[in-house]
Amino acid sequence: MARIELRDLRHSYLAHPAGDADYALKKVDLVWEDGGAYALLGPSGCGKTTLLNIISGLLTPSEGSILFDDVEVTDKSPEQRQIAQVFQFPVVYDTMTVYDNLAFPLRNRGVPENDVDARVRAVADMTDLTAMLKQKAAGLTADGKQKISLGRGLVREDVNVIMFDEPLTVIDPHLKWKLRSKLKELHQRVKTTMIYVTHDQTEALTFADQVVVMHEGWVVQQGTPVELFERPRHTFVGHFIGSPGMNLMPCELADSVARVAGHAIAIEDAPKTPPHGDAALELGVRPEFVSFVDVDEGLPVDIVAVRDTGRNHIVETDFAGHRVRALVPEGMPVPEGRAAIRFDPAYTRVYADSWLFE
């Protein structure tokens, strides 16, 4: 168990990186508290697997350092770091039985066979593998194999962190949620730090207490699912999390009042300081916080399209040339033709050059 700290991490796969564009990880400063359940969320190619491999020690960063409980481990091997990892595709030792697979990490470390047996049985019980202990690992289904991978991580009691690299990729949809809740339950039982890498926001938001969102090699935000939803620190977070994503439109800001195409928009705690001259300003509001009001009282829009998702309607409107989506819960009237909308001032944000401007 350990508190993991990443300091000024940068990584490039090139021998002589020139500019920021050559770095797969541009700059990462993060602290993962001991025993937390974290998700590392981002689209493919954002650097999350690179970051994961740096934490596990499979990759040495070009710059910066990694500390486990304030002890530098940057140059240590995965074995010395006492970490465990579950990979995207199930990695099991085909010729061994499930039992031997689970015992493998302990036997490699010279643990006495009595202790091995006790640990393997305890872990098999946790991961529902007891009935299959005597089977060859090769014969198991994908979710069974992922449980073995997970079990090999749990079997060592001194593991600092267990990392998951998109572990549900090859799992059947109806088993995904089962395995996910199993993970959550295990986390509560063993209290080991867990880092879960995924590009799927549902997986990230259901598993983790804290979500770290990555975009093009940057960590754009770390926060609870609620924080990510209500207060995205970057337009990427607004866009990536939520379905549909945040509405964004260019705006102007003067004397604490934001204006979109001449219409004043009310914002709670609007930024007091004017942004520096050439910053591109955008107004962001989630479809959940856009509501329809009487025609005279709100911003004039034209309804463009309505999509029924079952639980609610996504109403696409045209607001002074900008596409604005609103979410209307099932059972509420959906306006047609000309209408007026209102942005909830508490959840309307201003972004300068894509970063939240406060």
Binding site: N53, L58, P78, E79, Q85, Q88, F89, V91, S149
Partner: protein, 288 residues
């Protein structure tokens, strides 16, 4: 009705292959079957003899000896080439410039015509002028492959190992390259030793290519003719007369077509039998 028409068209498409196989395999084989049950004389005189030649070949000491030599040869080269090939493949770099260099070097012996391999080794091993033969003698070894059976065998085996280990290397290398990095990463995290990585990751993943490698090397070495023919011609005495060399001596040297044909069929059935045994043993325990 239409289904039947489609069927007949399919036969038409298969026909060229059927004709080809008939001419290059079935018809020659049947000629051999025909010879194997007849006594032949000049002027195309044939007399039916039944199983006589088969009985004669199977009970002849000459056949037993060459079969024994053949089995010896095949099992020695398999025992050397398969482990050596895997070891070389493991030692080869996985990527980069040197990986290409190694692959080209490895492929080279396979590109040389078989009789040239025999001729090369013949000259290489000559005790009075060959580099190998002369060096060995200069170092104090009494080495002469044209006179001593042991030297002849050692040279024959060295030649085959030089010629064919590459095939095992290339197959194993391909097998190793297909193992995803995640397996090695998982093994590092699990604290596995280099031996454990080989035993539990690499070897199991090599199983299929090794099955192919063993089968190919078995069949090819059991059929080997050109290289020993050029190198030793079966001598000294009969000490390196393998089955194929003996067969050619009977068929073309003595022109005993009946016994030679019977021996060919027995030879063929032995290869089939051993290949089947190898395949069954190596793929045993696989349900998929």
């Amino acid at each position: 009705m239409s289904a039947k028409t489609t069927n007949q068209k399919a036969w038409l498409l298969v026909a060229p292959v059927v004709v080809l196989v008939a001419f290059n395999a079935v018809i020659p084989l049947m000629t051999v079957v025909n010879y194997s049950v007849q006594e032949t004389f000049g002027d195309n005189l044939f007399f039916f003899e039944g199983m006589k030649w088969f009985e004669e070949v199977l009970s002849s000491e000459r056949f037993h000896d060459s079969l024994l030599r053949q089995l010896q040869f095949t099992f020695i080269i398999l025992a050397i080439e398969v482990p050596l090939g895997v070891a070389i493949a493991l030692a080869m770099p996985r990527r980069g410039f040197w990986a290409s260099v190694c692959l080209v070097l490895m492929a080279m012996p396979l590109l040389i015509p078989w009789n040239v391999v025999g001729a090369m080794w013949n000259i290489f091993a000559l005790p009075d002028i060959g580099l190998l033969g002369k060096t060995l003698n200069a170092m104090g070894f009494d080495y002469n492959f044209t006179r001593q059976p042991f030297s002849a065998w050692a040279t024959l085996i060295a030649m085959d190992v030089w010629h064919w280990t590459s095939l095992v290397v290339l197959l194993s290398y391909a097998g190793l390259s297909s193992i995803p990095d995640a397996y090695y990463q998982a093994a590092r995290i699990d604290g596995a030793s280099a031996w454990a990585v080989f035993r539990y990751i690499q070897l199991p993943k090599l199983k299929h290519v090794l099955t192919i490698a063993v089968l190919l090397r078995f069949m090819d070495s059991f059929n080997i003719y050109t290289e020993p023919f050029v190198l030793t011609g079966g001598g000294p005495g009969n000490s390196t007369t393998l089955l194929s060399l003996d067969l050619v001596k009977i068929a073309l040297g003595q022109f005993d077509l009946g016994p030679a044909a019977a021996m060919s069929l027995i030879y063929f059935l032995i290869i089939l039998l051993f290949s089947w045994i190898f395949y069954t043993v190596m793929t045993r325990g696989e349900d998929r």
